[in-house]
Amino acid sequence: MSYLMSNPGDVLVLLLQHLRMTGIALGVAIAFAVPLALLVTRLRWLAVPVMGGLGILYTIPSLALIIFLVPLFGLNATSVVVAMVLYTQVILVRNLTVGLAGINPAVLEAARGMGMGVGQRWWRVQVPLVLPVFLAGVRIAAIVAIAIATIGAKFNAGGLGKLLFDGIQTNRYDKIVAGSIAVAGLALVINGLLLALEHYAQPQRRLKHD
């Protein structure tokens, strides 16, 4: 705790690096996951190979995966971000496909039968209904990404993991504690924010619980 108090500037720099990696990774991951999920929804036979492939990817230990990527992307943040994107795919794609498949077919038929066009059905019915499920996926993906970004310090990517690894190498327990608290705090805050967003995206559920 004392390290956090005495070096707020250093910690802030690392925190921002951590956030930047996580943010970029999530943005890229979502950009890949949405079209992939739509494709899987449209072509059902793709579900097994795609979800299987992404699932296998998820079982590779993150350290090993990043090491695989270093020869391709170099010993820097890019390798780490690519690993984060690959890991979060399975979560995002699965949540989105399950969410889309979970929309009551009667609702979609009503939308069609009332004369909504394809775009209107997508934006006014499918997107709002799938959004809470999708955001739940984003939240889990964000936590996974924050965890992987911590390992990024080993690969010259910076981030809060640097405090941990430096602390271990130099026997500085105050640094280790500071790094742990900072990463855990970050994860909790991001989780809370996304949870609030999820809640907000679900007016019907919000009202029911009041």
């Binding site: 609702v107 009332m114 004369g115 909504m116 709002p128």
Partner: protein, 321 residues
């Protein structure tokens, strides 16, 4: 307004052994409630969904008010036709008001007009706007949801309503209340209603005419009374339970069986009933009171007499088979 004409309409799904709908030709008149009745898989829902082009016929044409519906844009056509489905299909993320407002907004009505229409329709289906406007579908009972479903279908003021087993998943008591509601609304609004059902009682209650289907074909298209008394074949006879005399009596008006008042009539102590009650009501009254004769009233004045013999004679008409 709202006549629907099927002209030799068929639909064969890819890979189907037989056409789901086979060469259907018939006309639904303006302001009429037609119930399409038949066992599951008979093509009744398929026939219905061709009217708003959720399915396209593989042969034949459908005309709405004389216009071939193929010539219209599908979304435009659907906005002009009210559509009610089983389990209501309400949008769970929208309030009751927003659900009702969907079609008016698609039609581009302005805001005050849409708001006024929401209240008007909720009043019409007996849901107080103040209480229900801002609720979500999950906060409503099944019956209330289907009322909203009906309000939503009526929102764009269509001449035609398509109802696909709308009360199939609703308990018997609520279903009867909703059927009464449809009859009441129809008295006010005079829409053309095409209603799919597999429930014979429902069909007999609601329909001006019943379209009986089997294996994609129309077996008989006639009034409930004619279906019961002159079923086209064994299938219709069995489907309607035409041997159920009590059911038949429920469809006959007292006025059709009563005898005129004798000249020296004086109403002693006969129980009375209205001339538009059914013979089933009359039978029930006779059994309950044990009276030998009933006096039939029209606007409070006696117009005829009815005895058990009259009822028996009416029932005989239906057993000519």
């Amino acid at each position: 307004m709202g006549t629907i004409q099927f002209d030799d309409v068929s639909l064969r799904f890819a890979g189907g052994a037989r056409p789901a709908v086979n060469r259907v030709t018939c006309q639904i008149n303006s302001g009429e409630i037609v119930v399409i009745l038949g066992p599951s898989g008979c093509g009744k829902t398929t026939l219905l969904k061709m009217v708003n082009r959720l399915y396209e016929p593989t042969a034949g044409n459908i005309f709405l008010d004389g216009v071939n519906i193929r010539k219209l844009k599908a979304t435009r056509l659907r906005q002009q036709i009210g559509y009610v489905i089983q389990q209501s299909g309400l949008f769970p993320h929208m309030t009751v008001a927003d659900n009702v407002a969907v079609v008016p907004r698609l039609l581009g009505w302005d805001k005050p007009q849409v708001q006024a229409r929401i209240d008007e329709l909720l009043e019409l289906v007996k849901l107080s706007p103040g209480e229900f406007r801002d609720r979500y579908p999950a906060q409503l009972s099944g019956g209330q949801q289907q009322r909203v479903g009906i309000a939503r279908a009526l929102a764009g003021d269509p001449t035609t309503l398509l109802m696909d087993e709308p009360f199939g998943a609703i308990d018997a008591i609520t279903r009867t209340a909703l059927q009464d509601e449809i009859l009441r609304l129809q008295g006010q609004l005079k829409k053309t209603i095409l209603f799919v059902s597999h429930d014979v009682e429902e069909a007999l209650r609601l329909a001006d005419r019943i379209l009986v289907m089997r294996l994609g074909e129309v077996v008989q298209f006639d009034t409930p009374f004619n279906l019961l008394t002159k079923p086209a074949d064994e299938f219709v006879y069995n489907l309607l339970g035409a041997d159920d005399m009590v059911r038949q009596l429920g469809l006959l008006r007292v006025a059709s069986a009563m005898m005129a008042l004798p000249p020296n009539y004086s109403n002693g102590h006969n129980p009375t009933l209205s001339h538009c009650d059914s013979l089933r009501d009359a039978l029930s009254l006779i059994l309950r009171t044990g009276a030998p004769a009933l006096t039939v009233l029209e606007d409070g004045d006696p117009v005829g007499l009815l005895t058990l013999d009259h009822i028996r004679q009416s029932a005989v008409v239906g057993t000519s088979r």
